[in-house]
């Protein structure tokens, strides 16, 4: 019994450590906070799972009726004390988990809709964060908020493209560039249906609702290239509605902004528009590759015209051969 409990505890601890490896890199301060929380849940979850499945399997193995045993088991119908304990234990557990989740949520300080007001009151933020719970990622968020002006980026989602607009420089791009260790604030807009702004490496996600501007904040802390995906089902080319996110040192980021500003707008490659034109083109590449042809679709928006468009139309000849 005690041995099993110790083994289960060790296994849970191992799983909790292991859980960090199930995720993409932690590219935002918020991601670290979330992974810690997830690890705690994994540890406790494993312990509960083993705690229940152990006795369960034990009875299955050792309390089988032998072949000719036709008798009944002991007529135990309940045990008030036990029932109170196993109501109280989960109750305490879920209240604790709620509380810890709440703390993490508060530390992440992702603004949902209508919460922007707080940001103009730094002293309020201070008091909210000056609690002894401070951990490094939270410190990162706080530093980013205090040391430099918040970067403002406008995001437009549509069927099926992402367009990023940098209002200060008036630059548009189909690739999202972000400075590392800076707090970034997005204003999310949709031109048609619901979309979801989701960067797995940041562990962050926010639905975008037509007719509404939704503010959203985060703090990238690791340079590299990540994926932004549409997370709210948005129609035919939903799966192809993706973009790259480049997190870079502040000076490179400034350089990129300057370079992009000097370029004149050109149509960017757009997967949805590309596939659509292929499907409606008898000689098209995708058409031949798909086994079952489908139905009509809402025509994709024309490829966005932007200052910075990293990707180009794939070579159809190559596609046909792959």
């Amino acid at each position: 019994m005690t041995v099993y409990a110790i083994l289960a505890a060790l296994a849970s601890f191992w799983m909790a450590k292991q859980s960090y490896s199930w995720f993409p890199p932690e590219a935002a301060a918020e991601a670290k906070l979330q992974d810690d929380l997830f690890s705690l849940f994994t540890g406790l979850g494993t312990f509960i799972y083993l705690g229940v499945i152990g006795p369960f399997l034990y009875s299955l193995v050792f309390h089988r009726a032998s072949k000719y045993d036709m008798s009944d088991g002991p007529p135990i119908e309940g045990n008030t004390w036990l029932e109170i304990v196993w109501t109280a234990v989960p109750l305490v557990l879920v209240l604790t988990l709620s509380f810890v989740s709440y703390r993490t949520y508060e530390k992440m300080a992702v603004r949902g809709p209508m919460e922007l007001v707080h940001l103009h009151m730094p002293e309020m933020m201070q008091s909210a964060y000056a609690k002894p719970f401070d951990s490094t990622p939270q410190q990162d968020i706080q530093n980013a908020m205090e040391t430099a002006p918040i970067e403002q980026i406008d995001v437009t989602a549509k069927q099926w493209a992402w367009i990023f607009h940098y209002p200060k420089q008036d630059i548009t791009s189909t690739e999202l560039h972000l400075p590392v260790d800076r707090r970034v604030r997005f204003t999310l807009r949709s031109e048609d249906v619901l979309h979801g702004f989701y960067i797995p490496a940041f562990r962050l996600k926010q639905d975008i609702v037509p007719n509404r501007e939704i503010d959203f904040e985060l703090t990238p802390v690791k340079t590299g290239t990540y994926r932004l995906r549409d997370s709210m089902f948005s129609g035919t080319y939903f799966a192809a509605n993706q973009a790259d996110v480049v997190v870079q040192p502040v000076n490179e980021y400034q350089q990129w902004l300057a370079d992009a500003a000097s370029q004149s707008p050109t149509p960017a490659f757009n997967q949805a528009a590309f596939e659509y034109s292929q499907a409606n083109d008898r000689e098209g590449a995708t058409k031949d590759k798909v086994a079952v042809r489908g139905w009509d679709t809402i025509p994709p928006a024309p490829p966005p015209v932007v200052n910075y468009a990293p990707k180009h139309e794939p070579d159809i000849a190559v596609l046909n051969h792959s």
Binding site: W22, Q34, G45, G73, P75, G78, L97, L194, K205, A239
Partner: protein
């Protein structure tokens, strides 16, 4: 062996009304016998289970490679929409209503449901729903492509411009299924409140009946919201009202509230009866009373209440303000408590028992272990910060299939095997049953476990194509999916052949304590020759108390021969 209906002549067994056909033909009549209706529900829904399953095989075929190359994107979208809709509206709900229909009157000692004709009407709406759903594949523009949520504005977009399109047919089908379910709910609730046999107080009522009561109460409070939302959506599509259409000033988030106010509790409409079956089956095959019967029974009602105030957890990433996120996080986590009570009760029930690994027992045990896993990942999802990362990813798909396939479908299989001898008077083949269990259990793990890591890595749900990094887990899930498809074959074979020529069994082949086992197998027209007078609780193993006062209790103290033959050979 004595029996209350021992001298009922063979011909009237299972006959819906005097003069009705006493063969398979009665299942094609407008019968008002709850037992015939129950089997009608079960068989019809199983046909749709297979259709929904075939659709998922095609989806897994598409997802075995990263590109959208097997089916076009529009087809894929229609496939997951119709797979989800058929699985829920045409399989899970109806099959559980069918089992409830068959069992509840027998378990409470009633002669039929409270409103037999209404019952038949509820059933006959189901084929209509199914035909509408399938017909949508044939209309121009094809079946609905907006997911079983049908969130606007996507569900309002209609590229073909036809008024009769897949989305409209879908809404009609869902509305009719809603009407059918409301009628069914009224019937169940009335039956359970008014028709229990004399002496059957609430705390002598079987756990399954409690669970069905909880589930049907949810239907009563929840379905009006869904139906209201569906009607508003239909008006938006057809006559251009602007409830949800943003370009006309409507609010698409409002729809989500309507939808989830019903559709979260709907999960419990499905899982509660499965819980009820676990609670019935474990005592019989472990030969012990249900541990903590009272709290297990009451927790069904607690779940009914709490699950009514958790729906916003599906909208944490929608434009939901922080206070709501936190509030609904706490309520969602609280559902774990009544669910946990049940799991503990089940473990304590088998602890120290005399366990027999019959097929229904295996499915019940398998279902419980899967539920344990799914319940724990459910707590993860209730946590706002974790949900912000994983919602709308494959983690959620893995989680809810663990609930739906791992726990509910397993529970349904357990129930069908357990009561098969009661329904048909014959025994199924144990070997085929065990093969079915092994394939199902392995298939479930292989299909749905890999979806969790894929989701944690960031693979969104409802995608026809995906990035290369997700390929590994998707290949595993697809192979598992095909295995699950295969797993249904031994089941079909078993059911068909056992029904035709399985060994005949007595009234109570399991030596179970419950009113339904006191009558003949299959039960006579009016269920009981003489209304039983209940004197003690169900599950009285080891105590040798009689269950009813007025008729002898065959098989409760001694073993029927069929039992010894069947399970020890």
């Amino acid at each position: 062996m004595t029996n209350i209906s021992i001298d009922a002549p063979e011909v009237v067994r299972g006959q819906p009304y005097p003069g009705a056909p006493d063969n398979w033909k009665r299942f094609f009549t407008f019968s008002t016998d709850h037992k015939v209706i129950g089997i009608q529900y079960i068989v019809t829904s199983f046909v749709f289970f297979l259709i929904g399953g075939l659709l998922s095989m095609v989806m897994r075929g598409e997802l075995i490679t990263p590109e959208a190359d097997l089916v076009d994107r529009t087809v894929y979208n229609a496939l997951f929409t119709m797979h989800g809709s058929i699985m829920l509206f045409m399989w899970t709900f109806p099959v559980l209503v069918g089992l409830g229909n068959y069992l509840v009157p027998l378990m409470i000692g009633a002669r039929d449901m409270a409103f037999p004709r209404l019952n038949a009407v509820s059933f006959w709406m189901i084929p209509v729903v199914g035909i509408l759903m399938l017909a949508s594949f044939l209309v121009p523009g094809g079946a609905s492509q907006s997911g079983w949520w049908a969130y606007p504005p996507v569900s309002l977009q209609n590229p073909t411009g036809h008024l009769i399109n897949g989305q409209v047919l879908w809404i009609l089908a869902v509305a009719i299924s809603g009407v059918s379910s409301i009628m069914g709910a009224v019937n169940f609730v009335t039956t359970i409140f008014r028709m229990r046999a004399p002496g059957m107080t609430w705390f002598k009522t079987p756990a399954f009946v409690w669970a069905v009561l909880g589930a049907q109460l949810i239907q009563l409070y929840g379905l009006p919201a869904l139906t209201g939302g569906a009607v508003m959506l239909l008006l938006d599509i057809t006559i251009g009202t602007s409830f949800f259409a943003p370009e006309r000033g409507g609010n698409p988030i409002l729809y989500q509230h309507f939808f989830w106010f019903y559709s979260h509790p709907a999960v419990y409409v499905m899982i509660l009866p499965a819980f009820g079956m676990f609670s019935e089956i474990l005592p019989v095959h472990a030969r012990k009373p249900l541990f903590g019967y009272r709290v297990i029974a009451a927790s069904s009602i607690l779940i009914t209440v709490v699950s009514g105030v958790v729906w916003v957890h599906h909208m944490f990433a929608s434009a939901t303000p922080a206070w709501m996120r936190i509030l609904f996080m706490v309520t969602s986590m609280l559902v774990a408590i009544p669910s946990g009570i049940k799991v503990f009760g089940w473990v304590a029930t088998i602890w120290g028992g005399k366990i027999r690994f019959t097929t229904p027992m295996l499915f019940a045990l398998g279902g419980i272990s899967n539920w344990l896993f799914a319940g724990i990942t459910g707590i993860f999802l209730a946590s706002v910060p974790i949900d912000i990362h994983v919602n709308n990813t494959y983690f959620v798909v893995g989680h809810f299939h663990y609930v739906l396939y791992g726990a509910i479908v397993m529970g349904i299989y357990a129930g069908i095997y357990h009561w098969f001898p009661k329904m048909t008077g014959r025994m199924y083949y144990e070997g085929l049953g065990k093969l079915h269990f092994a394939l199902t259990y392995l298939g479930t793990a292989l299909t749905f476990l890999p979806m969790h890591p894929a989701g944690l890595m960031g693979m969104p749900r409802r995608v026809a194509s995906y990035d290369l990094e997700f390929a590994y887990w998707n290949v595993l899930a697809s192979l598992g999916g095909f295995l699950l498809g295969l797993s249904t074959l031994p089941f079909i074979l078993n059911m068909v052949s056992s029904w035709i020529r399985g060994d005949k069994v007595g009234n109570n082949p399991w030596r179970a304590y419950g009113l339904e086992w006191l009558t003949s197998s299959p039960p006579t027209v009016e269920n009981f020759e003489e209304t039983p007078i209940v004197v003690s609780r169900p599950y009285g193993y080891g105590s040798n108390e009689p269950l009813v006062g007025n008729v002898p209790n065959p098989g409760l103290t001694e073993f029927p021969e069929s039992f010894t033959q069947k399970t020890t050979s």
